[in-house]
Amino acid sequence: MNIPINLFTWIMAFLPIIVLLILMIKFNWGATEAAPVGLLITIVTGLFFFKANIRLIAAESAKGVWNALVILIIVWTAILMYQVGDEAKAFLVIRNGMRKLLPNELLLVLAMGWIFESFLQGITGFGVPVAVGAPLLIGIGVKPLWAVIIPLLGQAWGNTFGTLGAAWDSLAMSAGFAAGTKEYLVTALWTSAFIWFWVAIGGFATCWFYGKGKALKKGFPAVALMAVIQGGGELLLSQVNTTICCFVPACVSLIVILLLGRTKLYNQEWSIADSPIMNREFEEQADGGERLPDMSLVQAFVPYFLLSALTLIVLLVKPINALLGQVSFGLSFPETSTGYGYVNAAVERFSPFTPFTHASMFLFVSAIVGLIYYKSHGWIGEGGVKRIFVKSVSMTMPSGIAVIGLVIMSKIMDGTGQTVVLANGIASVMGKVYVILAPFVGLLGTFMTGSNMSSNILFGGFQMTTANLLKVNASAILGAQSAGGAIGSAVSPSKIILGTTTAGILGKEGEVLKKIIALTVPATIVIGVILYALVAL
């Protein structure tokens, strides 16, 4: 590769990202409008400043469409599952049932916006916790904007070791660590330690949003306990089994928060009347308006129980996983290269899609079984099935353009060498001070690609090389990369759009991003400063 790494090429590589951020944050553009503009700039910089040819740009675009389609199948099935519950009025039952179990409104918000999302992230991921969590929070009276923000913050910690450790495996693969080796375990320890820090921030931030100091005081024991279970549990289990080290603490925390609701501290009705995140008018309407179906809380949760059981069985029972994993298909792409000699190797089967072990299949089966179950009990009336499918498709399509635009943008940046220039430029200019920015690079990777796993694939090798060049602890840098990547999942536009779609506030992605970025960027910088003090001073 002969790409000149200088200020000009660095600015050109950074231009699409900065334009995307300005359009969304400063001008409040929705991702559907901002992503195509970012994409257009990426194409122009790729063609004219990184010497790409049309074949390379077209090939990377097609790879982007393929990856985006796989994401969109998850979006559609998650929305389908939501529509099934909505049509059967299951969310009203869940809201009322959870209110009885958790009379303390703050604990209810924490359970439905943080703990339940952690549980979903532990098994599914790919934005499902945000897509499913947002309507659940709206159901308990949270304002739509906050119903998107809270799950985004709540699910983030599970992005590295969640989805049964998919992103972690990609980090270990990028760094060349074999499972169980000393480097593998030490890196897992650093990663989980940094993530623990974010676990606590997610919980305390939710309390702060709900009712500032008063809510922080009330929620402190619960959040501290949950943070110890989730963050501490993950840290300990990361030394035993990285596949389940997020899922197990997430399940335990779900049980513990329900038990907390029975303790003296939280078993009384408690709420802050003028909480800025709650829509009190909505609650009055919902309380007086709709008739509840004759459905128990357990019955309302049937599709979610099924989702958990199905995911665990298929992903953890190896013979079943191997059998279902045999059906797989991917597209072949030819080798492409830029005028600077940046080569994208030919691939026989690019990003193979394995439908029967994919999260979308679990969601689809759970939604269909849930639909049959609700219908057999008479909770879905005439014309309900048609309404469910029509609404699910109508809600998915608008977010499709944004997801496709963002994924193509990241593919072209990667394929033309812009991503490498971006990362190398930062490292070569900053020297050891780069360590402070290591988690931010992870965040940037997830922001661009929409996935902690892709961020680790994109920057894992680079971070390791940089750490070795700078002669600092590579395990610690890799841990910061993945923790930053996990935090970055909260600001990833493709995840935000899942929430705004199911919350019915499509186009408000900029507002969501503005609020979350104020928390995530400082958090990654703090992790970076701690890292610098520990390994570079």
């Binding site: 559907t32 409008e33 195509p36 193509i408």
Partner: protein, 70 residues
């Protein structure tokens, strides 16, 4: 039948409907690009790519150029 037609017409006049059409066009462009890459024909790739970019720009153009807010 008339009601269904009216519903279809009104849906495709909405933003969601327009984006649905744009999505379908992108899928068509995707197939054209794959055909171009498969046959090693850069002109076919270019046609598919231009169609795709055109469809991608549908939303910003309609929102900020054709029907700008206030």
């Amino acid at each position: 039948m008339e009601i269904n037609n009216a519903e279809k017409k009104s849906f495709f006049k909405t933003k969601a409907g327009g984006l649905t059409i744009a999505f379908i066009v992108i899928m068509v462009a995707f197939v054209i690009i794959m055909a171009g890459l498969g046959s090693g024909n850069d002109s076919v790739c270019l046609v598919g790519f231009i169609i795709m970019v055109g469809a991608m720009l549908y939303s910003p153009i309609t929102t900020f150029i054709i029907k700008p807010k206030g």
